[in-house]
Amino acid sequence: MSVRRDGIIKRTLIHLILIVSAIIAVYPALRVFGISIRPDDILYSTSLEIIPDGATFSAYMQLIFEEPFLIWLKNSLIVSFFTVVLGVTLAATAGYAFAKKRFPGRKPGLIFFLIVQMFPSTMLLLPMFLLLRKINLTNSHLGLIIAYTTFVLPLCVWQMRGYYETIPDTLEEAALVDGLNQFQAFYKVILPLASPGLVITALFSFMSSWNEIMIAKALMQDPDMYTLPRGILNLSSRFNTEWSTFAAGSIMIMIPVVIMFLILSSYLVGGLTLGSVKG
């Protein structure tokens, strides 16, 4: 953190810039909210107001009670929860190996995880669909969990690796000397220290699976298995978009992630860069 003391003009200017930028950052979200409480599906008005006249929560009522919102919510929760569990576990272990151990295939392995992120999603959607169909995992939670975990892993592995690298080797050596085997050293000593990194990985996994729509659209045809994004997509059908219900659904989808982001933002700042410095 720089230790300079800024003059008052500079400080005011900085605050001004930040305020304007913050408004720009937040306005679209507020606008979605405004649409969700607007009465009568009327989309257009020439005001910049957020709260329209006659604001009502009827869209939320309709969403929760008349649409299968609860089913979508259930599906999203299941899929996201297990994606997080699986993602964190696998990234924690794999990242550790990459960070602390030297073994043949280490460098290629890292590069592999980097390259894998370069595949355009269009490339993988159809074959993935066919593959899952063969093993009967389309339209199941498991299929989606596997797909999401896979897409989330490469970045998470890199992330955890960076985090582990900031933990001095001496701690591990001490643990080994004390008679713990490798796994115990990992589990009892290193892992707790890396918990901020785990939190970030969890957040990232959750966000990716909770918000994801393309894969959900391709894999889930059975309406009982729709996740939240897939569900509200149906509300935005071509000509007659039920704007207020769609907006209400959007707000509901956004809330968990936004709240987590806000709470964990301090973790995020530190965690994303560690390891990159050491490269």
Binding site: T46, K101, F103, M123, T273
Partner: protein, 319 residues
């Protein structure tokens, strides 16, 4: 482990000896690594290879039935690749994608570092500003892009309304802009939206990087009489570079392959006029079911990205 007899050692010596030791030394690592690797390999590698295979076939709407019923595929060699590369639209779209990526990433990094520097000081509301500026990353793109699409509406969009109000306050002439009717302004609108979406990521990485810069550097510079700008130029930026490098690579990949913004903004407004590579492929695959063609196209996109990353990493490894 029992003591091996002399005979045993002689018999198995080279093979067993190194294998066991090898496993003992590295077994744990592989064990830790395997689950992640297996999943990624199966779920990504297998489709990748499958896709690669499809690229050499003529799978399309007319041949789809045979494929679905009996798994029959008709191979046509490199025809798909040739078709992709000889289409003039491919090169236009490629150029547009390059411009898209370069402009976007440049803005992402610049604004990201800018905001990070602004926030990297003791100030009230710092937490609030940071939290709000991160928000665009938390919102699913298919929601935020649709909202932006509404905001770019000619008559009732927030952007034009704001511009009009500003023109009244600051007294300049203003003609409403038909953002989503014109390819040029449409492309600009798409870039604005994508920049909005992408700044938080870069900002957070830069913030983290700034935190690890030793304040002593700044103090020393201050003593030497360096101005704020000079400090940024000579201390902050160079020290941020190693931190931003991986982020830039990731950013390039994500922007290059970002389907959502262009697809949703141009849907029914600027059909096919501001396509980048991935949206073009998506339409071919899922709109027209030209699956063989789309597979070949995807492979080409991948190779382009691969080439770029290799060059980029090699160039920066020397530093």
């Amino acid at each position: 482990m029992s003591q091996p007899t002399k005979a045993d050692i002689q018999k198995n010596s080279l093979l067993d000896f190194s294998l066991r030791k090898f496993l003992k030394r590295n077994g744990f690592s592989y064990l830790m690594l395997m689950p992640a690797f297996i999943i990624v390999a199966l779920v990504i590698i297998y489709p990748f290879l499958y896709n690669f295979n499809l690229a050499f076939t003529n799978l399309s709407r007319s041949t789809l039935i045979d494929f679905l019923r009996e798994g029959k595929l008709h191979y046509i060699g490199l025809n798909n690749f040739v078709e992709v590369l000889t289409q003039s639209t491919f090169w236009t779209v490629l150029l547009r994608t390059l411009i898209w990526t370069i402009v976007n990433v440049f803005c992402h990094v610049t604004f990201g570092i800018f905001f990070a520097i602004l926030l990297d000081r003791d100030m009230i509301f710092k937490g609030i500003y940071r939290a709000l500026l991160i928000l665009p990353w938390a919102i699913p793109q298919y929601i935020s892009v649709l909202v932006w699409k509404g905001m770019f509406n000619y008559n009732y969009g927030a952007v034009n309304i704001l511009l009009e109000r500003l023109s009244q306050i600051f007294d300049f002439t203003y003609e409403p802009i038909a953002w989503l009717s014109n390819p040029t302004t449409g492309f600009m609108a798409a870039i604005i939206v994508n920049v909005w979406v992408g700044i938080p990521f870069m900002m957070m990485i830069a913030l983290g990087g700034l935190q690890s810069i030793d304040p002593n550097y700044y103090e020393a510079a201050e003593i030497d009489g360096a101005s704020g700008f000079q400090q940024v130029k000579h201390i902050t930026l160079p020290l941020l570079k190693p931190v931003m490098m991986p982020a830039v690579i990731l950013g390039v990949i994500m922007t290059f392959n970002n389907l959502n913004v262009i697809y949703l903004l141009s849907f029914k407004k600027l059909t096919e006029k501001i396509d980048i590579l991935v949206t073009y492929v998506y339409k071919a695959a899922f709109g027209y079911f030209r699956l063989g063609y789309a597979a070949a196209f995807s492979v080409i996109i991948f190779l382009i990205l691969l080439g770029f990353s290799t060059v980029f990493i090699k160039q920066n490894e020397s530093h």
